[in-house]
């Protein structure tokens, strides 16, 4: 029953799933985040990061402060793409919207890829 406790509320990840990861040999918050999505939701791990650290600390017998933290990535809070796009347009007044070569490099100069 206790294992059904939700650890990551954004992605519905239970304590049972975290313990299974540890049993499968995962050793860091970063790895558990990548295979379960715990910490990838809108709150970006504010709640679950330390709860997972606690499980790792217990399982591997290391003090909490020695558990490797995952990277804190921007933005701090979710921001709408529209607001960000408008911010760019405001700072690039007069530039041909965002189309064409004005902002994007030519393919032969390197560009996006998957």
């Amino acid at each position: 029953m206790a294992d059904k406790v939700i650890i990551c509320r954004c992605e519905d990840i239970t304590r049972e799933m975290i313990l299974q990861c540890i049993e499968d040999g995962y050793q860091t918050i970063d790895e558990i985040k990548r295979v379960t999505r715990a910490g990838m939701g809108p709150c970006q791990g504010r709640t679950c990061r330390l709860l997972i650290a606690q499980e790792l600390s217990r399982a591997y017998h290391v003090p909490m402060e020695e558990v490797l933290m995952s990277t804190f990535r921007p933005p701090t809070k979710p921001i709408s793409m529209g607001a960000l796009a408008d911010a760019w347009l405001e700072n690039h007044e007069g530039e041909e919207a965002v189309s064409g070569q004005a902002v994007a490099p030519k393919p032969e100069e390197g560009g996006a890829a998957e």
Binding site: Q44, P74, P75, G82, A104, E109, A112, E114
Partner: protein, 381 residues
């Protein structure tokens, strides 16, 4: 970890894990894979996860086609008990210039020769596929249903899982710091966890591969270039396919989870910079909201940066070190390593175990930059 191995693979991304798996599958018994951090900590875990067969050169299209065939059954192939989340919703490639549109017709011919089921779409037909696409400036597009994406974390873990089952040792948080040679051949690897004897070393360290090769006197013309991506909150299904444009340098896809993953690719000076920038965040949103205005309503939850290991012709460099026998480098994937790794790993493993292969590994030698026999690819970004 033992004190010596027949083969030591350096790098816990998909190239290293798939190579270790394919070698073990061919009966190589004594393999160790070392990784500086954890599996997928580098470029694989930071990539856009796309897989496509819509290439412009026969070589890349056929490697991508055969790689997709493996990814379609990767769970069974490796025995991995989880899904690798392959979704074949297709890639819609968007042409914004006449030159690009002409090139797309040529690419289709190449793809059709290989039996790839791609086809051209008019702007109106594109609108039917992706109703949210802004058609301003769009000349046309091409589509292939078999393209799509897979989860890079799970694909890599699948190969690692299968490799471990066949006896491969995987040591994480173990960094290669130097090499020892004997009579012009590799003898072992110095690591942060001690010295390991090795009869063969395979350097799959992506953007760090050139500096490792340098330690055995080998120059590899591969540079490191930062690229960034971001992901939004999950929403109900809106777009089934990847939408990508070379001339405007963007790609965007909705994952099965509901979030949108996207990126744009301005050229940067070579670096090992792994930091995210606010400039990317704003610029990416401006480019993407222009192409797909519906994205304005979505919120960005996270952004990150990764590295492309760029080679001069944007194709892999696979070679044995000239001054150090049995030291091989497999790098220079230039931003599309994830989608070609299954087939490339097979080619490398076939070569090292003396088995025949329809692909000639020597085409990937760095000699091509001297002889001019470049692996030119028109549909690369």
């Amino acid at each position: 970890m033992k004190k010596g191995y027949d083969v030591v693979v350096i790098g816990g991304g998909i190239v290293g894990c798939a190579t270790a798996f394919e070698l073990a599958k061919r009966g190589v018994k004594d393999i160790l894979l070392i990784e500086k951090r954890f599996l997928t900590a580098g470029a694989t875990g930071r990539c856009g996860a796309g897989i496509r067969q819509q290439w412009g050169s026969e070589l890349n299209a056929s490697i991508a086609l055969e790689s997709t065939n493996i990814l379609e059954n990767l769970e069974e192939y490796t025995g991995y008990p989880h899904s690798v989340e392959l979704h074949q919703g297709g890639y819609l490639l968007v042409a914004y210039t006449d030159k690009e549109w002409d090139q797309f017709q040529k690419n289709l011919e190449v793809q059709h020769r290989l039996g790839i089921d791609s086809y051209a779409l008019t702007p109106e037909e594109m609108k039917k596929k992706v109703p949210y696409l802004n058609l301003d400036g769009v000349k046309g597009g091409t589509f292939n249903q078999k393209d799509g994406h897979a989860n890079p974390f799970h694909c890599t873990q699948a190969y690692a899982y299968g490799a471990r089952k066949m006896g491969v040792d995987i040591e994480t948080f173990c960094e290669a710091t130097g090499f020892r040679m004997k009579n012009g051949a590799i003898a072992g690897v110095e690591t942060t966890k001690g010295y390991i004897e090795a009869k063969t070393v395979i350097n799959c360290a992506n953007t760090r591969a050139p500096e490792l090769a340098k330690m055995v006197g080998e120059d590899i013309p591969v540079i490191s270039e930062r690229h960034q991506a971001l992901v939004t909150e999950p929403v109900a299904p809106l777009i089934d396919c990847m939408v990508m444009a070379f001339s405007r340098s963007y790609y965007v896809q909705q994952t099965p989870h509901g979030s949108f993953v996207m990126g744009i690719g301005p050229k940067e000076t070579p670096s090992h910079n792994f930091k995210s920038s606010w400039q990317f965040l704003e610029h990416n949103c401006a480019v993407m909201c222009e192409a797909l205005p519906i994205l304005r309503n979505l919120r960005v939850v996270r952004q990150w940066a990764g590295q492309y290991d760029m080679s001069p012709d944007a194709n892999p460099v696979i070679d044995e070190a000239a001054e150090c026998k049995n030291f091989y480098s497999v790098c220079g994937f230039s931003g599309h390593g994830f989608m070609v790794s299954p087939r490339v790993a097979i080619m490398v493993a076939n070569y090292l175990t003396g088995q025949e292969d329809t692909l000639d590994i020597h085409r990937f030698s760095k000699k091509r930059f001297e002889t001019g026999e470049l692996l030119l690819e028109p549909a690369v970004v």
